[in-house]
């Protein structure tokens, strides 16, 4: 168990840097699902030599980079319905097989965005609970319970300034005690049965974070 590393004198991570930090923490040879939106950018930082294989829930292992120009094929998209490419050694399968793979615990890591993560790793990322919102869950609940590890990428604070790392989620839940790591612009965290541990800070200190985010405790 190593201690926290603080980088108070550098700026917070930008989106590209966040994606790079997440990419660094994925084990070589892992099977990984990247959620819609921000997590997609993690792929840009995965060195092919590391043998990491991307799963997309719409039925593919071995997903390659986004397709551009003549490579765009309407029959080949990622979960966000963006055109992608196929790498050598890819495999296609239907939706029941794809989610059996996910729910059976075969994916090593999935990376998703979140509205909130609780200190015990509960995830809320599918519904704001607002009465006029149209609910849409997609594969988020399946990924939450299926992947061996769930990494979350999110801003540490909501637009109203309240922390998104919370004692207890107030938004409708996606999954219970499923998140193991959280990546934000100001800090990265490990989450588990013992609560939240700050792994690294960017442009701030643990002490300062602890003042603004009640669930943060520095572990011995």
């Amino acid at each position: 168990m190593t201690g926290t590393v603080e980088h108070p004198d550098r700026p917070p991570l930008d989106r590209d840097e966040m994606a790079r930090v997440v990419a660094r923490d994925i084990p070589d040879g892992a099977y990984v699902n990247l959620g819609i939106g921000q997590p997609t950018a993690v792929a840009d930082h995965l060195d092919p030599a590391r043998g990491i294989i991307l799963h997309t829930e719409n039925g593919m292992l071995g997903m390659g980079p986004p397709a551009v120009g003549d490579d765009v094929d309407p029959d080949l998209t990622n979960a966000g319905k963006q055109p992608v490419t196929e790498l050598p050694g890819a495999a296609y399968f239907h939706h029941a097989d794809s989610f059996a793979m996910m729910r059976g615990g075969h994916l090593d890591v999935c990376i998703m965005g979140a509205f909130q993560v609780s200190e015990r790793g509960d995830l809320a990322n599918w519904h704001t609970g607002a009465p006029d919102a149209i609910p849409a869950v997609g594969g988020a609940m399946d990924l939450a319970i299926g992947a061996k590890e769930v990494f979350v990428m999110m801003a540490l604070f909501a637009r109203d300034g309240t922390p998104k790392l919370v004692p207890r989620c107030t938004y409708p839940l996606t999954g219970l005690a499923c998140v193991s790591r959280v990546y934000t612009e100001l800090a990265t965290f490990r989450v588990g049965p013992d609560g939240v541990r700050v792994v690294e800070t960017f442009g701030t200190t643990v002490a300062e974070l602890a003042r603004r985010v009640p669930v943060i405790h520095r572990l011995a």
Binding site: N58, P74, D75, Y92, H95, R103, I134, L176
Partner: protein, 220 residues
């Protein structure tokens, strides 16, 4: 064999008011647009549609919704950048929505096709989508009891088919087609290419003809 239909209109004959219609596709990839257009032409209404999304743009499922033929949508992800037809109907209270996690949608249709009466599923435990559902702890893990989703008819898109009804798909357009084909009383496939019996590799057939009642060649 009599499975090959002269056109989409003949292929969807017999679908009745109030039917439950499984419609393939993940967004527009694999969406059987010609069959859905024929269904619109057939004039039936009060339909329950099971599909991953709730229509994209103005074609396929979105056109069926716009025509006012659908009472209820069962899907995992209605809300998308181009789901404006559904959004408008939903906000106007003109359509019912049941959101189902994507893996449950697939697995519940697989169960219907495989003769499974119900199954204990790890997805959604502790979330609002499991509210009111039976749960059970098995080997220390909590599960939700989920029931099959049967269709009266399945409309799916495939890449190639033979007169026996054997189908192959193309890339991630495979998605829900093979599962839906097993879960409906009558399965209708639109295929880009109709090929002669013996032209599909028996090792690579994804949907064996036993699951396909009618097919129609629609070209690119």
């Amino acid at each position: 064999m009599g499975k090959v239909m002269p056109g989409p209109a003949e292929a969807v004959t017999g679908v009745g008011d109030g039917a439950t219609v499984l419609i393939g596709g993940f967004g527009l990839a694999g969406m059987p647009v010609h069959l859905v257009d024929a269904l619109i032409g057939l004039g039936v209404g009060d339909l329950t549609v099971v599909s991953n999304n709730a229509g994209n743009g103005d074609t396929g499922l979105a056109a069926l919704l716009a025509a006012g033929r659908v009472r209820k949508v069962i899907c995992s992800f209605p809300r998308q950048a181009d789901s404006y037809v559904f959004d408008r109907l939903y906000r106007a209270g003109k359509i019912e929505l049941e959101v189902v996690p994507q893996g449950n949608l697939a697995e519940r249709m697989r169960a219907a096709g495989a003769g499974i009466g119900a199954f204990y599923c790890p997805t959604g435990v502790g979330t609002p989508l499991a509210d009111g559902k039976e749960t059970r702890t098995i080997d220390g893990r909590e599960y939700v009891l989920e029931y099959p989703i049967h269709g009266d008819v399945a409309l799916i898109g495939a890449h190639a088919g033979d007169p026996l009804g054997n189908l192959v798909y193309r890339k991630t357009a495979r998605n829900f087609g093979p599962v839906m084909a097993t879960a409906a009383t009558v399965t209708v496939a639109q295929v880009t290419h109709l090929v002669a019996v013996g032209q599909l590799d028996p090792e690579a057939v994804v949907t064996p003809g036993i699951y396909v009642d009618r097919l129609v060649e629609v070209g690119r």
